[in-house]
Each structure stands twice: as structure tokens, then as C-alpha cells.
């Protein structure tokens, strides 16, 4: 456990350092408005990253989350505008379809024993393709005013989706750290065969996790549509890489068996702070991507060196 927390403490120090430096660079950074707005912007990636933490802890990966987001967004628009369903029903149906997409991932991975990387590589193309085919590059707009509350509104001054993210993060953290389901998740990642022979329902657990990834990607889609007030089939392209970067930066081992929700949260905050702080101090958007890449490599390198010194 102390080794697990080691990475998180390095990360926490890094985050505080980054926040301090960024605050000195620009006096606009440490304002309540800016910080809350950043919270709004990281909610979509954050929600998906919670499920991705579980996926990666089992030793798997899900590359299709960005495509599920795009597909759900398109379905939401089509169900509402073209099919003519009431918006709440359209949202419910679209989220159900997105969850089904995640369930299908889980089915391919557990029933057919296709490695998760390959299975979700294929569904990445498939789901994005469905989104493109269904939408035929038409965007849907003109949603009713109340719908924008989810993506643009506030509860007691805090962005709605940030409240959602915090609740979801606490729930996910408790499930992973404190329940039999969480322990099963770690056991599968540490040694799947051993987990199976210890009576853990490996396939059912994985199926739940991949379905949850689909579900959270769909919720992120609804928030995304509500925030930008339109649906397009290319929504969420490349989301998977942002999400995986956050999770891995947070100390979750890509080999499975290790990782915490706190780590993921710290990873996400660090990335969002860097993005925002650098752009406030005049670095162009693409320059910040470079910094995030470097931070990812350096953070993992540092924890690998610490780990080795401790082990050796």
C-alpha cells in the first residue's frame, strides 16, 4: 500500500508545484471563476477516466470510448429530431445504446477471448463509423433551453457536471477501494487465472466494467452536447488518449492490478491545470500537448526509478 501511495504523493507534489508556478505566471489562473470553469471542461474526460481506471486495473484497455461518445451524441440528436421522441426519452435511449456498445465490447472480450486492445480497436472504427453513417455529416441543433442546464448551468455556483463528476468519483473510489467488486477488479488484474480459481466471477466482473465504460462515455456525451449545444459525428475523437493519459499519469499500472481513483483524479487535475495555465501564460494550445506528453513520460520514469530503488 505504501508503494501505491508513493506514486500518488509524487503526483500530488508535482500538481502543487505546477499550480504554484502557474499561479505566479498569470494572475487570472487562481480565480474562482477560472478554476470552476476548468472543472467544467474536465468533466467529460473525468467521467470516462473513472471507468477507464477500472478497465486498466483489470489489465485491459478500452480505446472505443471516444467513438461511443460520438455515437451516443449522434443517436441523441437523431432520436429527438428525426424520430421525434421527447428529449428526455431520447437521452435515455441514447445512453442505453451507449451502454450497450460498452456491453458488446465486454462480450467480445470475455466470450471470444479477443485481447481488449484489438477488440476495442475494432469497435473504435465500428462505432465511429456508425455515428458517421447515421448522421451523414449533418449536425443537430436547436435543443430546448432547459437541456443546457446540464452542460452550462450551476448548482450553488458550482458547474452541474463538476458536481456529477465529484459524486461519480467518490462512488467509484469507494467501489474500487472498499467493496468485494473492487477487490475482484484488483485480483483479476494481478492474476486472472488465480482470480478465477479463487471463485471470482472474472467474466461477469469484466462485463460490468466495460458496460460501465460505455455508460459513462454516454453520460459524457450528453453533457458534451448540452455544453456545446450541437451534435456532430466527430465528437470525442481522440478522447481515449486523453483519458488513458490521465489514468496512467495517476499511477494505474497498464499491466493491471495497481491503481486508485485518487491517483486518476490527481492525474486529471494536473493535466487540466497544465493545459489551462500554459494557455493563460501565452503558450499556444498545441504547445501544451507537448508539455503533457513530457510530463507523462517524466512522471512514469520517476516512479519507475523510485520503484526500482525500493525493490533493489
Amino acid at each position: 500500500m505504501s508503494r501505491l501511495l508513493k506514486h500518488e504523493s509524487i503526483l500530488a507534489i508535482l500538481t502543487v508545484l505546477a499550480l504554484a508556478i502557474l499561479a505566479m505566471q498569470s494572475d487570472k489562473f487562481f480565480t474562482t471563476d477560472n478554476l470552476l470553469n476548468q472543472g467544467r471542461l474536465m468533466s467529460e474526460v473525468g467521467l470516462v477516466a473513472l471507468a477507464m481506471t477500472f478497465v486498466i486495473v483489470t489489465g485491459g484497455i478500452d480505446l472505443s470510448v471516444g467513438s461511443i461518445l460520438g455515437l451516443t451524441a449522434i443517436l441523441l440528436g437523431v432520436f429527438w429530431k428525426n424520430v421525434g421522441l421527447p428529449l428526455p426519452v431520447a437521452i435515455g435511449l441514447a445512453v442505453a445504446c451507449g451502454s450497450l456498445a460498452g456491453f458488446v465490447n465486454g462480450l467480445i472480450i470475455t466470450r471470444f477471448r479477443v485481447p481488449p486492445l484489438i477488440a476495442t480497436l475494432a469497435t473504435l472504427a465500428l462505432y465511429r463509423g456508425l455515428a458517421e453513417g447515421i448522421s451523414e455529416a449533418r449536425s443537430v441543433r436547436g435543443y430546448p433551453e432547459w437541456f443546457f442546464f446540464l452542460g452550462q448551468g450551476d448548482i450553488l455556483g458550482i458547474p452541474v457536471q463538476l458536481c456529477l463528476l465529484v459524486i461519480a468519483a467518490i462512488t467509484a473510489g469507494v467501489i474500487l477501494a472498499r467493496t468485494p467488486f473492487g477487490r475482484a477488479t484488483y485480483a483479476i488484474g494481478a492474476n486472472e487465472t488465480a482470480a478465477h480459481f479463487s471463485g471470482i466471477r472474472v467474466n461477469a466482473t469484466k462485463l460490468w466494467i466495460y458496460t460501465a465504460a460505455g455508460f459513462l462515455a454516454s453520460i459524457a456525451a450528453v453533457i458534451f452536447v448540452s455544453r456545446v449545444t450541437t451534435t456532430r459525428s466527430d465528437m470525442g475523437t481522440g478522447l481515449e488518449l486523453d483519458v488513458i493519459t490521465g489514468v496512467v499519469l495517476g499511477g494505474t499500472s497498464i499491466f493491471g492490478g495497481k491503481g486508485t481513483i485518487i491517483g486518476t483524479a490527481l492525474g486529471l487535475i494536473l493535466i487540466q491545470a497544465l493545459k489551462n495555465g500554459l494557455s493563460l501564460s501565452g503558450v499556444k494550445g498545441d504547445g501544451t500537448i507537448v508539455v503533457i506528453g513530457v510530463v507523462l513520460i517524466v512522471a512514469i520514469l520517476a516512479s519507475a526509478i523510485f520503484d526500482r530503488n525500493k525493490g533493489g
Partner: protein, 327 residues
């Protein structure tokens, strides 16, 4: 039937079966390509026209070349998700050098050397520092992509000297990229099959500790594999750069996924240790053929990607069922 009375026909059949067993995935992909050509060609003969053949083979050769390197990486038990960004960087670098008045060979050589050096460094981080390759290359993806866009601002490069445009030459009426694809695939296949280093890649990917116990140096092998992968990515970048009259200075979207998928569909197991580079080249051709066939079959371009996704899924499922039956 016992071994003793096995007739010559039985022997033949068993060696055929072994061939199918060893190269099953490659054969499935090849048969699919042939089938597509026959079916779509009889529906619309223009599918088999020289122009379309050229666009299928020449236009996608760079994907096949990049997939050769990717196959080596995956066979060694690793992965590179940054190859798409690398190809974008190489193309822009080569184009910039070419229009800045450097000799053509400099414009070709410098980006390739850059790619080899960067990938070898990635290999060193993976092999000696024990950082998972997906993490290092994920970071590298951001660095290359962000670096490229912030350095160029997305400006297009045009007016490259004709001598630089390696992809646009023709020998006996066939575009140079096709020669690159065929020759590099054959060389890599022979190298993987017969050279000591080639076989050590399989050994390291199959079981790293066993390879070490057998006297191999797995770390050095991994660095070598990434350096070779850098070479193939470099060449792919040059083919990509000189394909059109303009270089867009951006990262081609989803290129890394296309390249990885080509390797995997071609029969390279993502678990490492098995697969051939011939399969990945076949798979790259298959994707190009599917894409072109859909256009000729009047399938709406909007549905193209979902059909491709379904095909990938079908190939993978068939492969998994076939593998399960053989074990």
C-alpha cells in the same frame, strides 16, 4: 492411420495442413482480397482499371511499409501508438528541407535518421527503464503531434522540387511506392525468418526470460526493433510526403490505428511472439481494397468506416475461433 503407413498423399495433405495452420491468417486475408477483386470487378469492371489499381496499391503502400515496422514491434511484445504522428513529422520535415533548398538526399536522409534516433530512444526507455511501451509512445504521440502543429502552425508546404517527389516516379508503369512495399516486405520477411536477430525478436516477444536464459540480450533486441521500426516509419513518411503536390503539416487522423490494425489483422498476435510481415502487408492492401470497393459498389462514403470496423471485427473473431480450435 499410423505414421508408418501414411501414404504420400496423406503426407502432402498433412504438410498442406501445417502450411494452412502456420499461415492461416495470411491466407484468409489474401483470399478476401482476391474475392473482393473478383466480385467487385465483375460488378464494375472499372474497379480493375489501371488507374484504380494504382490508387489502391500506390496510394496505400506507405501504410504497408509502416505496418512492417509495427509488426516487428508487436512481435517483440510491444506497441507504438505514436507512429501516425511520427509519419506526419517526417513528412513535414522532409518537405521543409526540400523547399528550403537543401539537396534532395539531405531532405530524404535527415527525417529518416531523426525517426530512427527517436524510436531507438523510445526503445531504450522501454527496454532499460522498464516503462510500458504504450505509455512511452502515448507521451511521444503528444510530443510529436503538439510539436508539429506548434512549429508549423498548420501551414501547407507546396512547390517541392520534382526530384524530391519519390512517390510520383514510375517504373514500367507502376508507381515507386509499390516497389518499396514489395521489396521491403520481402526483405523484412526473409530477415525475420533467417537472420539471428530476426529470430531473436520472436524469442523475446514469446518469452523474455526464456530468451535471456538462452543467451540473448532482450534489451538490445528491443532497442534494435524500435530502431528498425523507426527506419520503416521514416520511409513510410517519405512515401506519404511525396504522394501529393502538397504536404499538410498535420498528423493524418487515426493513422496509428490503421497501421496497428493492419499488423494485427495480418496475423501478428498482440500478445507478441508470433506473426509475419507478409500478413501485415496483405492486410494493408485489404483495407485499401475494401475502401475502394465500397466506392465502386456505390456504398455511401459515410458508411465506409463502419463496414471497415465490421470487417476488422469479423477477421478477429474468425481468427480467435480458428486459434481456439487448433489448440
Amino acid at each position: 492411420m499410423t505414421d508408418v503407413v501414411m501414404s504420400s498423399r496423406g503426407l502432402q495433405r498433412s504438410s498442406l495442413r501445417r502450411f494452412v495452420g502456420n499461415y492461416g491468417q495470411e491466407l484468409v486475408v489474401l483470399l478476401t482480397i482476391v474475392l473482393l477483386f473478383v466480385v467487385v470487378g465483375s460488378y464494375n469492371p472499372r474497379f480493375l482499371s489501371e488507374t484504380n489499381m494504382n490508387s489502391i496499391f500506390s496510394g496505400n503502400a506507405y501504410i504497408a511499409v509502416a505496418a512492417i515496422g509495427m509488426s516487428l514491434v508487436i512481435i517483440s511484445g510491444h506497441i507504438d501508438v505514436s507512429v501516425g504522428s511520427m509519419i506526419g513529422v517526417i513528412a513535414t520535415m522532409a518537405g521543409t528541407l526540400a523547399v528550403s533548398g537543401y539537396p534532395v538526399w539531405v531532405a530524404w536522409l535527415v527525417p529518416v535518421v531523426f525517426s530512427v534516433v527517436v524510436n531507438a530512444s523510445v526503445g531504450a526507455l522501454v527496454a532499460y527503464m522498464r516503462i510500458p511501451s504504450i505509455v512511452v509512445t502515448l507521451g511521444m504521440l503528444s510530443v510529436l503531434k503538439g510539436g508539429l502543429i506548434s512549429a508549423t502552425g498548420g501551414a501547407w508546404i507546396t512547390d517541392m522540387p520534382p526530384a524530391f517527389m519519390i512517390s510520383q516516379w514510375r517504373i514500367f508503369g507502376i508507381g515507386t511506392p509499390v516497389y518499396f512495399m514489395v521489396v521491403l516486405t520481402l526483405l523484412a520477411a526473409l530477415y525475420m525468418r533467417f537472420s539471428g536477430f530476426g529470430r531473436s525478436i520472436y524469442a523475446v516477444g514469446g518469452n523474455m526470460e526464456a530468451a535471456r536464459a538462452a543467451g540473448l540480450n532482450p534489451e538490445r533486441t528491443v532497442v534494435g526493433v524500435f530502431a528498425l521500426h523507426g527506419l520503416f516509419a521514416g520511409l513510410a513518411g517519405l512515401l506519404f510526403a511525396t504522394q501529393l503536390q502538397v504536404i499538410q503539416s498535420t498528423v493524418p487522423p487515426n493513422l496509428e490505428l490503421t497501421v496497428i490494425t493492419a499488423s494485427v489483422i495480418g496475423g501478428v498476435s498482440i500478445l507478441g511472439g508470433t506473426g509475419t510481415v507478409i500478413g501485415s502487408t496483405f492486410a494493408a492492401i485489404l483495407f485499401a481494397t475494401i475502401g475502394s470497393a465500397l466506392i465502386f459498389l456505390n456504398v455511401s462514403a459515410y458508411w465506409l468506416r463502419s463496414v471497415l470496423g465490421l470487417m476488422i471485427l469479423a477477421t478477429v473473431l474468425v481468427d480467435m475461433i480458428r486459434r481456439r480450435r487448433s489448440t
